[in-house]
């Protein structure tokens, strides 16, 4: 953990010791892709929303990585904002899920496809 703490201290150590920005960006992009896959393949409404949270998480990593790279705190501030939106979205989405579940007794997205051409 000593390394972690050293890294965490701003100043002395060079940014991204041993790891490039590209690493973090790849992790972020891969996590985003996984979240997207989950959103697309899962049929459970709750899990789908979980996957959107995954995508939020991925964007958070990218933002923090950029913030570190630029030594600019706005990236972190933005993550706070993303967190807020995620929390609000979770609250509303879960309320909706509950509502939908009451109507159909099912969490499947396929229970809700009346609006089709």
């Amino acid at each position: 953990m000593q390394d972690v703490l050293t890294l965490a201290q701003a100043g002395g150590t060079p940014p991204m010791a041993g790891v490039t920005l590209a690493h973090y960006l790849f992790v972020s992009a891969a996590m985003f892709a996984l979240g997207l896959v989950g959103f697309l393949v899962r049929r459970n409404l709750i899990v789908m929303f979980l996957c959107t949270e995954l995508m939020f998480q991925a964007s958070g990593i990218a933002l923090i990585a950029f913030a570190r790279y630029h030594m600019e705190m706005s990236g972190q501030t933005f993550v706070i904002f993303v967190l807020t939106v995620a929390a609000a979205e979770a609250a509303l989405a879960l309320a909706l899920v509950v509502l939908l579940f009451r109507r159909r007794d099912s969490l499947s997205t396929e229970a809700w496809q009346e609006m089709r051409g």
Partner: protein
């Protein structure tokens, strides 16, 4: 990382494109295989393939910047994060998916720590793992009827198999390929990382901290005081590069005193400066959003009592006649009873959430 300044900044300078796209394709196949299916599903093989692909890209990236030492913590945390993420999307049980998501959050927090964003790391754990995910778990537990025993056939039909895994994975990984290309080609064009020292200038706006630190190190005696700027009376005369601060001694002479080494700007402090100084409206907007979300959630999940016409008429007459009036003679049936009875008669497990039910969790199954 040393971004190449000369020539065309392309993906090739970071990682071999064949490696990258091959690995992404492999990862796509792996994820596709790892998704839940009916019958036998080689999820482990898929996960392995995906892991190999991810590792290949990361190692390739590491090889692209050979002079930098690999940071083992990064690899550990990202492996846990991506592996858990794969599990989130591939685990047939929503509860487990949510728990794996907690793992994703924790490892992301680790990555945040590596990126010297301690405040955000802990905020993430508190908000995500502590609040949001718990809400998810509540809803999952309320809305799914999976019993405790470990039998897949008790799963809801819609949890058992992925829908259109090939198309979805294809689309997502094409997007990933494009996204990585975009990100990697953009990296070369980024400006030089800013000097970490630049932010230290903010120290000038933390006079108490500087003073207590100086006094702790006995650099400041009784009667000495720090010199404030003439134009910005709240800020100190502090030189961030030389790490000195002007002090007016008790004798009246002014001299520059070097700052202690452990006096550094903390993450929380700089974040707070950024948050409140540069984005003051953010916190207000966030507050309004959260308030609205709370109201919206309350309105949406409110129980909707459906009264039929004669019931309404009966209640209206009761209201009109007032307490003790003729309306009291009529027995007024109560809506919740009706709803509860209906859901019980239907015998559906979903009766728990059915409209007008008394929301007893076991009501339907009783």
């Amino acid at each position: 990382m040393e971004p190449s300044r000369e020539g065309v900044p392309l993906v090739e300078q970071l990682v071999n494109p064949f490696l990258l796209y091959g690995a992404i394709a492999l990862g796509g196949i792996g994820v596709c295989v790892a998704l839940p299916r009916r019958g036998v599903s080689p999820q482990a093989i898929g996960a392995l393939l995906a892991a190999i692909a991810g590792a290949a890209v990361l190692i390739g990236l590491g090889l692209g910047a050979p002079e930098a030492l690999p940071n083992i913590h990064f690899y550990i945390f990202s492996a846990i994060a991506l592996g858990s993420a794969l599990r989130v999307i591939s685990h047939p049980r929503p509860v487990y998916a949510a728990l794996y998501f907690v793992l994703v959050v924790l490892s992301s927090a680790g990555l945040y720590l590596l990126l010297s964003a301690e405040f955000m790391a802990f905020a993430l754990i508190i908000i995500y793992a502590g609040a949001i995910l718990i809400t998810y778990l509540f809803v999952i537990m309320l809305a799914t009827q999976s019993p405790t025993e470990d039998r897949l056939d008790m799963l809801a039909d819609y949890d058992r198999a992925a829908r259109e895994p090939v198309v979805a994975t294809g689309a997502a990984f094409v997007l990933l390929a494009v996204l990585t290309t975009l990100l990697f080609s953009g990296i070369g064009q980024l400006p030089e990382p800013r000097d970490a020292m630049a932010r230290e200038g903010l120290m000038a706006e933390l006079p108490r901290r500087v003073e207590s630190s100086l006094r702790g190190d006995d650099l400041l005696n009784r009667g000495d005081e720090l010199v404030y700027r003439a134009d910005e009376p709240w800020a100190l005369e502090l030189d961030a590069v030389e790490r000195t601060v002007l002090v007016r001694r008790a004798t009246g002479e002014v001299e520059a005193v070097g700052l202690p080494d452990d006096l550094r700007l903390r993450n929380v402090e700089s974040l707070a400066f950024n948050f409140l100084n540069e984005h003051p409206a953010t916190i207000e907007i966030a507050g309004v959003i959260l308030l609205m979300a709370m109201l919206g959630a309350t309105v949406l999940s409110r129980r909707q009592v459906e009264l039929d016409e004669d019931l309404k008429a009966a209640q209206a007459s009761k209201l009109r006649l007032g307490p003790g009036g003729g309306g009291a003679a009529q027995p007024v049936p109560k809506a919740p009873e009706r709803g509860d009875a209906a859901s019980t008669q239907r015998g559906l497990p979903g009766g728990r959430f059915s409209s007008g039910g008394r929301d007893a969790p076991g009501g339907g199954q009783a």
